[in-house]
């Protein structure tokens, strides 16, 4: 009977470990190769247009010419985060901020699956201890998935 109870305890422990790992993976917090937690364009647009709630810090990690043609109002230009210099600028920008601050990263340079910029930016923020970070899901590019949808956009530097 005792051996039986031990086996049950081991099984429960193993199951708990597996569940914890799963939860860790789905939270998007897996270090350098983290899959970013996502926010959909419609959800972000609604949040920005709402008079309620605190707005996120918006950071564009794409290229300057894209930003100058069209960007989300209030968003800050950091540059393509596939480049170490842009990552350094990102870290310097957020260094003094409380780690609970809500940050939304976006790029839209290329289709999501081949974007080289969002994931390094996300991983870098996560490594600094920022846990409330989301990446804007732009399936094709910023033009098709944000501008063409009529979501808030401004031009300029």
């Amino acid at each position: 009977m005792r051996a039986h109870l031990k086996m049950v305890a081991v099984a429960i422990t193993l199951a708990a470990a597996v569940l914890a790992m799963e939860a860790h993976v789905h939270s998007g917090n897996t270090g350098k190769n983290a899959e970013p937690a996502l926010i959909q364009p419609a959800e972000l647009a609604k949040l920005l247009l709402s008079h309620k709630g605190k707005k996120p810090l918006l950071i564009q990690v794409g290229f300057r010419v894209l930003y100058e043609q069209a960007h989300i109002p209030g968003s800050e230009y950091i540059g393509p985060a596939s480049d170490d210099k842009a990552l350094s600028r990102l870290r310097a920008r957020v260094k003094a901020l409380p780690r609970r601050v809500f940050i939304v990263l976006y790029c839209g340079c290329c289709p999501w699956k081949s974007c080289p910029n969002v994931k390094p930016a996300y991983a870098s923020l996560h490594a600094m201890g920022f846990k409330n970070v989301k990446a804007l899901w732009l399936a094709h590019n910023f033009g098709a998935d944000w501008v063409d949808k009529g979501y808030p956009t401004v031009k300029g530097r």
């Binding site: 300057r64 839209g108 501008v147």
Partner: protein, 185 residues
């Protein structure tokens, strides 16, 4: 009718059919094919480049960046197209949207790029209708009009098909025939 006469008639029919098919598949201007906006810039090698200087050639104009994965995959195909059709009146022009020239110079050497590359800006991008994602390419005919726009990564075979079709058209303009404007996405 002798065998020779029949053979000659058959040859004429085959040739007429071939020409008809080529003409039907060749890109033609339509109300959608706008003149490409001209620009003047200095390329990576310090040479002045004006798009209008290429009138009379078929031009593939590609907006790209060194860190853009799909762009990197397209560049070898563009190098091959330039090598294959350059002497037949074809020219690739690259417009890099990198933030500065240094990585573009490195990339240019590493990929053995054989066509001119300039650094683009927002004004140039907007003159082509806005470049809000990469890569984007435009195929420009000998008459200086845009015949196709390719948004996102495009297969080398698609570029080659369209380039060959435009190279096959001898005249500077050919306004008759069916409308044609390809927009790939």
């Amino acid at each position: 009718m002798s065998f020779r006469t029949k053979a000659a008639a058959a040859l004429v029919l085959v040739a007429a059919f071939y020409i008809a098919v080529r003409r039907a598949s060749a890109p033609r201007p339509s109300s959608s094919s706008q003149p490409a906006p001209d620009f003047v810039a200095v390329d990576l090698n310090g040479r002045k480049l004006a798009l209008s200087d290429y009138k009379g050639k078929v031009v593939l104009l590609e907006f790209w960046a060194t860190w853009c994965g799909p762009c990197k995959e397209e560049v070898p195909a563009l190098v091959a197209l330039e090598r294959k059709y350059g002497k037949r009146g074809f020219q690739v022009i690259g417009i890099s949207l990198d933030d500065d020239a240094r990585p573009v110079r490195d990339f240019y050497a590493r990929f053995n790029m054989n066509y001119p590359v300039i650094l683009g800006d927002a004004k140039l991008a907007e003159s082509f209708g806005g470049i809000l994602g990469l890569p984007v390419a435009f195929l420009i005919g000998r008459d200086g009009r845009i015949y196709a726009k390719y948004v996102g990564q495009t297969a080398a075979a698609v570029f080659e098909r369209d380039v060959r079709a435009l190279l096959g058209r001898r005249g500077a303009t050919d306004a008759d025939g069916p409308s044609f404007f390809r927009q790939h996405r």
